[in-house]
């Protein structure tokens, strides 16, 4: 009986070896088109300045799946792309790299930027969307065809959007102190667009959008601090009539500064100064 089992086993192994051999070739060459895409000079510049050093892809060629398919949007002019990418490099990546170290942006950054030429109008609302951040991995910037690179306020708009969305990404890595949302939660509203920035400031929010909810409040503080010089930011705060509102905003500013210092070892005022100088240089 034992011999029988051995014979059966040998037969089984022999059959298993032969079972799936039909004599055909093994796996051949890939059938998928792996030819490199056509790259123009802009594509090469983006690869050299974003993909290679930071693993950040800048998408500007239209793909309907990159944006909301129900919105009416269009791609940018090719000529609009490099100035915006350059602004990101000079006024966002380089200052953060200087204060946070060469790996800061490499480790914490959106992996994709999508540039859209047109404005993004919100349906049934008197508002437009300037940018969108998705899951900490992607930032979409709208209306880049309408930026004026001789006007610093025009350039500050996409930079503020990036600082705002990057603030969200930092928060997704390390949440901010919950006490921030308890400072003045009573006036958060979904109808924030019915307020002007000036009205919001008198309530203790740095912008009208900041009065929508605490997460937006925090990153609006970040983006306002990082798209204004310290003097300009102080002038905004000092221009608030209400003593209480002014005090609230200073309290929030302190929490933001503490958040950057404690969690990332970054002096936000040093960062603010570097960004301001870089932004000024963009319009020279």
């Amino acid at each position: 009986m034992k011999n029988n089992i051995k014979i059966y086993l040998v037969c089984l192994i022999a059959l298993s070896y032969m079972a799936c051999s039909d004599g055909s070739d093994s796996v051949g060459a890939s059938q998928i088109d792996t030819n490199p895409p056509i790259l123009n000079t802009l594509d090469i510049w983006l690869r050299n300045n974003f993909v290679q050093p930071y693993n950040i892809e800048v998408l500007y060629k239209w793909d309907i799946n990159d944006t909301d398919v129900d919105r009416f949007l269009h791609p940018p002019f090719e000529a609009s792309v490099r100035p915006v990418a350059n602004a990101l490099q000079k006024a966002w990546i380089e200052p953060y790299t200087t204060v946070g170290g060469p790996d800061f942006i490499k480790k914490i950054a959106p992996r994709q930027f999508t540039f859209v030429g047109s404005f993004n109008f919100n349906p049934n609302s008197p508002t437009i969307t300037l940018g969108v951040a998705e899951a900490g991995t992607k930032i979409t910037l709208f209306n880049i065809d309408f930026l004026d690179f001789t006007d610093i306020n025009s350039i500050k708009q996409p930079l503020k959007t990036v600082q705002h969305e990057y603030g969200h990404i930092l928060n997704q890595n390390i949440p901010f102190d919950v006490s921030y949302g308890q400072i003045n939660p009573e006036n958060y509203t979904a109808q924030w667009f019915n307020r002007t920035d000036e009205e919001a400031r008198e309530l203790g929010y740095i912008t009208a959008y900041g009065s929508s909810q605490e997460g937006e409040d925090f990153v609006e503080m970040v983006s306002e601090m990082l798209t204004n010089s310290k003097a300009d930011f102080d002038a905004i705060v000092d221009g608030i009539v209400s003593d209480n509102a002014r005090s609230i905003i200073r309290q929030k500013e302190a929490i933001v500064a503490e958040y950057y210092l404690t969690n990332f070892g970054i002096d936000i005022y040093e960062l603010q100064d570097l960004i301001d100088k870089a932004t000024q240089d963009l319009v020279k």
Partner: protein, 458 residues
């Protein structure tokens, strides 16, 4: 017994194993793999696009149930760039951008960076903010008929079409721009001028006679809704978008009427009309002295009572006030300038019983300080005949009337139309500056149908 069963089962198992992997696969359904077939189809479209070294003429209706279309001339290059011009606006210079052929839900032509084609998807376009012409940058390849390539708008697949026809130009750079400018110029021919009638009709003549419809053209949307409403309330309406060509226009969807299909119209400058001739029948878009059908709105005036009909430019503009009426006001202002005055407004009062100056036109003028001066002009009793309003001028009333009569004569003549006036009820008042609940209406001179005014009753 037990041992024998095991042996039988095991031998059976081995037999099954030995047969289980026979190379008996069926024949391949396709000669190529899916990846190769996708690549081949993309290559086929790419090759078609670049095969026309003088490019394509493209007619793009982004959504033919809301908007008309535009004409483009495109020259595709093997390096992934495309040069194009269009008749969208006066900026007709050829611009270069990128395109790709990709596989989406099917093979797609994607205009990947901005060029003329994206003007229809510009959500900042004045008058269409938020949507533009609801266009796209992504087109699904649909068919190739004798070199004419048809694509569908990826979002509006039932109403958005891009059709590419080889240009066969000798020189793309010069001929494309010239043709784009020619079709842009054609777009002006369909608009009313200071001398053309405000009544624009679609008239179709066939063996059954002449059928006319008020054209109802929206120049912003390049969209027409030819319609006729009869007294019994029955409505016949067509809807289509217009796209202009260098010698006329095409419509989409096509017009089907009594067994014939009309799509291409040729402009006839001698009659300022667009004509489509099909199998001995004729469809014509023309300016007519009268509308397709005069409704009963004029009888509403019998119920107006003492309310005055006011036209005041300061209340804002409305396209129903015609360029011909604007010309009247311009002429009056020219006449008044010698007195240091300008036109302010006029108010028409109607009375259907008395000849004692109860039908009256009050014309108000102002000086540089804003002081208002009144001038009254009398008409005999108003009469309604053949659904038209007839006013007969009786002369100026006392006061400033006689002094200013010559200066304001164009307005008096407008209302003194010997062939009567056509009145339409336009619901509540709306203008470029706002809306009021007041009843609004238009008066059009039949004697000179280029002159129409839109105003309100108060």
């Amino acid at each position: 017994m037990k041992s024998i069963n095991i042996k039988i089962w095991f031998i059976s198992f081995l037999a099954v194993c030995s047969m289980s992997c026979n190379n008996d696969d069926g024949q391949e359904l396709f000669a190529d793999s899916p990846a190769e077939r996708i690549a081949n189809r993309n290559a086929e479209l790419t090759n078609l696009l670049i095969s026309q070294n003088q490019g394509y003429k493209a007619v793009y209706f982004s959504k033919n149930d809301e908007f008309g279309g535009f004409t483009y001339y495109m020259q595709f290059n093997a390096d992934g760039t495309v040069g194009m011009t269009s008749d969208f606006d006066a900026e007709t210079a050829i611009e270069f951008s990128s395109y790709e052929v990709r596989l989406g839900t099917t093979n797609e032509l994607v205009f990947t960076t901005r060029n003329h084609i994206q003007k229809v998807s510009n959500p900042s376009f004045p008058g269409l903010v938020g949507t533009g012409y609801k266009g796209t940058s992504v087109f699904q390849y649909f068919k190739n008929e004798n070199g004419v390539l048809t694509f569908r708008d990826v979002r509006n697949s039932d109403s958005g079409f891009l059709v590419l026809t080889p240009t066969n130009f000798a020189d793309f750079e010069t001929e494309s721009v010239a043709k784009a400018e020619a079709s842009l110029a054609q777009r002006e021919n369909i608009l009313p001028t200071p001398t053309s009638s405000v009544f624009q009709l679609l008239s179709i003549e066939n063996a059954n006679g002449l059928s006319s419809f008020n054209f109802n053209y929206d120049p912003l949307r390049l969209y027409a809704s030819p319609r006729i409403t009869l007294d019994d309330g029955s409505v016949t309406e067509f809807n289509f978008g217009l796209s202009f060509t260098e010698n006329g226009l095409v419509i989409s969807p096509v017009l089907e009427f009594e067994g014939e299909v009309y799509e291409e119209f040729i402009y006839d400058s001698s009659s300022s009309s667009y004509i489509s001739e099909v199998n001995g029948t004729t469809a014509k878009i023309l300016f007519s002295n009268e509308p397709a059908f005069i409704g009963r709105d004029v009888f509403d005036l019998l119920e107006i009572g003492g309310d005055g009909y006011l036209y005041r430019p300061g209340l804002g503009s409305n396209p129903l006030t015609s360029p011909g009426h604007d010309a009247i006001i311009a002429e009056v202002n020219e006449n008044l300038s010698g007195f240091g005055l300008s036109f302010f407004d006029y108010i028409l009062f109607l009375d259907f019983e008395s000849d004692n100056c109860l039908s009256q036109l009050l014309i108000r003028v102002q000086n540089a300080n804003g002081d208002i001066f009144n001038a009254f002009y009398c008409f005999e009793r108003a009469v309604i005949q053949d659904r038209k309003l007839f006013l007969t001028y009786a002369g100026p009333a006392q006061g400033n009337g006689p002094l200013l009569e010559a200066s304001v004569a164009p307005i008096i003549t407008f209302f003194n139309s010997t062939e009567g006036m056509i009145y339409t009820n336009e619901g509540s008042f709306s203008s470029s500056l706002g809306s009021f609940s007041n009843l609004a209406g238009t008066f059009t001179s039949v004697q000179n149908p280029s002159q129409r005014v839109y105003g309100l009753f108060f």
